[in-house]
């Protein structure tokens, strides 16, 4: 039994594995990775920004000891950048070379038909593996011992690109017209797709994936996450700041602080040698957790109540 198989044996072992890599996850998340591994299905991860969608893929790669191949999506991404591309410069160069040596090649050829058939041999060479430039998706398929493929922010790409993904996601293969079908090696990649929900992903794509929704964590989970990520922070302060953030999420904000913001804030407070929250300090460091001036202004009035609430919760 290999390391990977051992890790993926049960949801609990996966959870422990993640924890060892400082990624604290819920049962739901661990189950998703478990099913992804055993059913060989890609996972589409959705959720608000900053809840650890990309991090999940990265940590999985770390934990399984597999290389991570990442494809960042953006508007205008096409197959030439995602799957493969011909090395056209090299092809052009070779055409020139061929032209110069044409006489030698054709030497002794009897008649036109034979010349053409000799030339045909070269034609195929130009579209062979030799001239193929693999891009992330093709690279992932060719990885011998498997890999973790992260297709990040798939909602940013165009509809056409989504359709391109379908083949690789359902069959782990890519069809290149000139060469044929490239299939994954014995170990197909573990695929994660992330989406920020800026637009609806097509049903065809969703159908091929497991769908994991990561919401904001509850207070308990968030505390454990902070503990794992910023271990030096005193427990009382940790409780206070988590309570504060959790309450903040209930307010009507333009951008709600996510886990990454909580972690940043914890680091900031640690750097400032804070022992316990107070309204003044919160006001000064608010720009770490809130990214819009409007939000900061709106929250300002609430700071005192929120802080005292957090303090009383922390004392418990």
């Amino acid at each position: 039994m290999t390391d990977i198989e051992q890790l993926a044996e049960s949801v609990e072992s996966l959870k422990d594995g993640f924890e060892a890599h400082r990624y604290i996850c819920s049962n739901q998340i661990a189950t998703a990775v478990y099913l992804a591994y055993h059913l060989r299905k890609p996972v589409l991860i959705e959720g608000p920004p900053g809840v650890g969608k990309t991090e999940l893929a990265k940590t999985s790669a770390d934990m399984f000891g597999l290389p991570l191949i990442r494809l960042q999506c953006y508007e205008g991404l096409d197959e030439a950048k995602a799957i493969y591309e011909w090395k056209y410069g090299k092809q052009l160069l070779y055409t020139q070379v061929l032209k110069e040596t044409l006489d030698e090649v054709l030497q002794g050829a009897q008649g036109f038909a034979e010349s053409v058939s000799r030339l045909h041999e070269f034609g195929d060479i130009f579209f062979s593996e030799e001239f193929l430039e693999p891009r992330p998706l093709l690279k992932a398929l060719r990885e011998e011992h498997g890999c973790v493929l992260l297709i990040d922010e798939v909602d940013k790409s165009d509809h056409e690109f989504e359709s391109l993904l379908l083949e690789i996601l359902s069959d782990f293969q890519v069809s290149i017209p000139e060469i044929g079908t490239v299939k994954a090696h014995r170990e197909p990649p573990i695929v994660f797709l992330t989406s920020n929900n800026t637009r609806e992903i097509s049903d065809a794509l969703k159908r091929r994936c497991l769908h994991l929704y990561i919401p904001f964590p509850d207070a308990d989970l968030e505390q454990r996450i902070i503990h794992a990520r910023v271990p030096d922070i005193p427990p009382e302060l940790r409780r206070q700041l988590v309570t504060f953030i959790q309450d903040l999420r209930d307010l009507d904000l333009k951008k709600v602080p996510a886990i990454s913001e909580t972690i940043d804030w914890a680091r900031t407070l640690l750097l400032l040698h804070t022992e316990s929250l107070d309204a003044e300090l919160v006001r000064d460091t608010l720009n770490v957790i809130l990214k819009f001036q409007e939000d900061i202004v709106n929250v300002d009035a609430e700071i005192t109540t929120l802080t005292s609430k957090a303090l009383s919760a922390g004392a418990r």
Binding site: E46, Y88, K99, D158, E200, S202, D203, R207, L210, Y213
Partner: protein, 487 residues
């Protein structure tokens, strides 16, 4: 077992979760891997495979809990320990009811009678200790305390009894009986009565335990039928209501149906978005595509003379919505705004204006708030005052006539009842000349368009299209046209 899953999926579909056959197969694979033993694990796994949006996940959660809800057998039996005598009594009576039920086919009557016809036989207190193994299949399942497996069995039995055909609530008793029979009640009852007459203490102990669990199972079956009745009967009723709501006049929609209508609007909008987002792009000349040009010209000895171009996106439709929000039209404005803003995926450039007497832009309100809140705020702030189309047009000209260009579509929603004021058709004409299209939607039926103080005749001269629009069906068609023309 698989049939139970498909049954569950049917219930999910009933609750508007879209599940394809491919996903059903995935669910079965997942099921094979996960098994039925751990309920939370099963729920987690299925929720990864079946629902594919956050909303659907919520629906899934409740549906799963309803469908697979089984009270924990061990806690149930523990509490019933104290009422052992009573339990025994009822059990005895039920045994009798069983015979009658299968003979006469009146299950519910049998069960009811059982309660009264029970003998006064006291259970011996046998105490805890060794128990023998049950022989009948159902007995084994009961003793295993595997609630999920029992649920699956029950669902299967329900399938055999054609529970999904249940129509009226008076059939509940009948179906309960049928399900118990299909689950192998006859075998279990026989086993119990045999065990109870046995001389060995472990056998009798098992008999008692089985009887207790049998009663518990009957309760569960009754609950199950109840839930399924709600699940199936409710859905058909809802579908009927939805069909009706699509056709009903929007001003007549009762307040309690607003939520449902909103859901319909979102669904319709989603359908439209899916239909039109695909043909948003048209191929047109634009930037030079260097790799493709080079590759293509390789056959010409690398001399570049046949150029290849990158595709260029055509602008998405720009829509200006001008809504009359005075009392008579407000309810229509509500739904139209809802519709337009549900389509932001394919129509990101909607600007909206509201007026009754003075006109103001409310775009920002919609950007910053949830749709429902924005609509409520709009109606609150702008719906007072008497309708003045002339003033509204003048305000519009001042506000943003310069932004109207030949890609803009202006949609005006209003009844054109101007209180005998100046209609200011000159401004409308100006809009007509500048914009790509001007569409007037009138919630009144065509025959009343020109009665009283309505200025519809004058306005129709300066719009590309005037439509009657007072139900969701109409709205859907109009917005669909909007998108088609833009593509």
């Amino acid at each position: 077992m698989d049939r139970t899953l498909t049954h569950f999926i049917a219930a999910l579909r009933n609750a508007d979760v879209r599940i394809s056959p491919a996903e059903t197969l995935d669910a079965m694979n997942a099921l094979e891997l996960v098994g039925y033993r751990d309920r939370a694990f099963l729920k987690n796994s299925l929720s990864l495979v079946l629902p594919k949006t956050a909303d659907e996940k919520e629906t899934f959660d409740t549906a799963f809990d309803q469908f697979f809800s089984f009270e924990d057998i061990s806690t149930q039996t523990a509490t019933s320990e104290t009422e052992q005598a009573g339990e025994g009594e009822q059990g005895e009576g039920d045994g009798q009811g069983q015979g009658e039920g299968s003979g006469g086919g009146k299950g519910s009557g049998g069960a009811k009678k059982g309660k009264f016809a029970g003998h006064d036989e006291e259970e011996d207190d046998l105490g805890p200790g060794e128990m023998s193994e049950p022989r009948s299949e159902l007995g084994r399942l009961l003793m295993l305390e595997s609630t999920v497996e029992l649920t699956m069995r029950m669902a299967e039995a329900a399938k055999e009894a054609r529970l999904e055909e249940i129509q009226v609530f008076t059939q509940k008793g009948l179906y309960t009986r049928k399900i118990m029979d299909a689950m192998g009640l006859a075998d279990l009852s026989r086993e119990i009565s045999e065990l109870r007459q046995s001389f060995r203490v472990p056998d009798r102990r098992l008999g008692q335990e089985l009887k207790k669990r049998q009663n518990w199972l009957r309760e569960q079956a009754r609950d199950y039928v109840e839930r399924q009745f709600l699940l199936h009967a409710d859905a058909t009723g809802r579908r009927l209501r939805e069909d009706l709501l699509q056709k009903v006049k929007l001003s007549n929609v009762e307040h309690r149906n607003f939520r449902l209508i909103q859901e319909i609007v979102f669904r319709m909008a989603k359908k439209l978005a899916a239909l039109h987002s695909r043909r948003r792009k048209v191929f047109k000349r634009g930037q030079l595509h260097v790799p493709r040009t080079l590759r293509h010209n390789m056959s010409y000895d690398g001399a570049i003379f046949d150029l290849r171009w990158k595709s260029v996106k055509v602008d998405r439709p720009k829509v200006f919505a001008i809504c009359d929000v005075s009392g008579s039209v407000a309810s229509y404005a509500r739904f139209m705004l809802m519709f337009l803003y549900s389509l932001d995926e394919v129509m990101p450039k909607v600007r909206s204006f509201a007026f009754s007497s003075d006109l103001a832009e409310v775009t920002e309100l919609f950007e910053r708030n949830k749709i429902e809140d924005a609509i409520a705020k709009t109606l609150r702030d702008y719906s007072g005052g008497s309708t003045d189309y002339g003033q509204a047009f003048a305000d519009f000209r001042k506000l943003c006539m310069d932004d109207v260009d030949n890609r803009t579509t202006i949609v005006i929603l209003g009844d054109a009842r101007n209180n005998y004021g100046d209609p200011r058709t000159d401004i409308l004409k100006d809009m007509y000349d500048r914009a790509k299209r001007v569409i007037w939607l009138n919630p009144e039926s065509r025959s009343t368009w020109n009665t009283g103080d309505a200025e519809m005749r004058k306005y129709t001269a300066y719009v590309h299209q005037a439509e009657e629009c007072n139900s969701l069906m109409h709205l859907n068609r109009v917005v669909g046209n909007l998108l088609r023309a833009a593509a």
